[in-house]
């Protein structure tokens, strides 16, 4: 379980996170929703210890995140961080050198799944395919937790569908996923849990099947209530 407890973060005078708390379970897909600038990416960066927080605590399976944690949790940022001149094969080799948890079998399977050619240079790929490579590099790690920042933004509908298919496959099964997005429609049926954010705080945290069951509301219905209130 990933536990985010009352984290606060300021950039200069701007209070970006003002006491954010939520949990994300293993084996579940947790979705952080909020408009741009609400602090979604900052939360992911904080979980990965990429940015220091001013106060609060983040625990991964009950422990603080250290260098060793990165064999257990990975972050797929919204833009690929590999050198553009590398081919996909070279990028995979790089990951293999860097991480013990790299699983080449799974990477090969993902190449097929996304219909990518490993001899292609990253710089020559379309936006959609670059996003798929980015995803591949993260998903091929044998880690328990995966954080994904806006995996659907700016990508054509077929690529989005392909990426959404990953979520229902064994490539994700059993792992804990936190995904940020501002467009929920593609994944409404895929997510277990929703965390609604606004102005640095959590407005509501809920289980999507539970609100359908107990209140007959869709995730979008709840968003409308919460954000328009």
């Amino acid at each position: 379980m990933i536990e985010v407890k009352d984290i606060k973060k300021k950039f200069g005078r701007k209070q970006v996170l003002n006491g954010v708390s939520f949990t994300a379970n293993k084996g579940e897909i947790t979705c952080l929703i909020g408009i741009n600038g609400v602090g979604k990416t900052t939360i992911l960066n904080a979980i990965m210890a990429l940015t220091p927080v001013n106060s609060g605590e983040i625990l991964l399976d009950g422990q603080k995140v250290t260098k060793q944690s990165f064999e257990k949790i990975t972050f797929i940022p919204d833009a690929i961080t590999m050198i553009p001149q590398m081919t996909i094969a070279e990028a995979m080799e790089f990951m293999d050198d860097y991480y013990d948890s790299w699983n080449q079998n799974r990477a090969t399977e993902l190449l097929g799944f996304f219909k990518l050619k490993q001899e292609d240079k990253i710089s020559s790929l379309s936006k959609g395919n670059t996003a798929k490579v980015n995803l591949l590099l993260g998903l091929a790690l044998d880690v328990d937790y995966i954080l994904m920042d806006e995996p659907f933004s700016g990508i054509d509908i077929f690529s989005r569908e392909q990426i959404a298919d990953v979520f229902t496959s064994h490539l994700i099964e059993g792992r804990g996923v936190i995904i940020t997005t501002h467009e929920i429609s593609d994944i409404e049926h895929l997510i277990d849990k929703v965390v609604l954010l606004d102005e640095g705080i959590v407005l509501k945290e809920f289980n999507s099947e539970e609100v359908r069951e107990s209140e007959g509301k869709s995730v979008v219905d709840v968003m409308r209530e919460v954000y328009k209130a």
Binding site: I29, T168, E188, H189, L190, I191, K217, V219
Partner: protein, 131 residues
């Protein structure tokens, strides 16, 4: 297999309903194996946890059964199968009656209309099936 899910009813309830319809129409036969949790999740493009929940629910309702170390199967219990069909028909009729009652149509006129429409539609379906 394409199933259109709405966003307001629990997805697992919609999955159970989908199975009931398949059973009532004879698309799923007694004793037939059902897809694994993961297969169904990727076919229907929904969360594997949701499929798990749907299977649990169906097991509780006696729609499917699981023997040790083998895939779940559709029940052979005639009573249960009969009940599924009955339940779906009653539900559809209830919805129809509720919406038609507000227009106050005499029942004889209504029955005549239903019969006419029904024959007409099955003719069309029968016709297109041969195309």
């Amino acid at each position: 297999m394409i199933v259109k899910f709405n966003n307001r009813d629990p997805v697992y309830v919609q999955v159970v309903r989908h199975f009931k319809e398949q059973i009532a129409r004879g698309m799923l036969e007694p004793g037939q194996e059902v897809s694994s949790r993961r297969e169904l999740a990727s076919q229907l493009k929904i969360n594997p946890n949701t499929v798990q929940r749907a299977y649990k629910e169906m097991e509780e309702q006696g729609l499917i059964y699981t023997e040790k170390n083998s895939p779940s199967k559709i029940t052979r219990d005639e009573d249960v199968l009969h009940r599924v069909r009955e339940e779906l028909i009653l539900e559809a009729v209830d919805t129809f009656v509720t919406s038609v009652r507000s227009i106050n149509v005499p029942v004889d006129e209504l029955l005549e209309l239903v019969k006419e429409k029904y024959d007409h539609q099955s003719d069309e379906e029968g016709g297109s099936a041969h195309d």
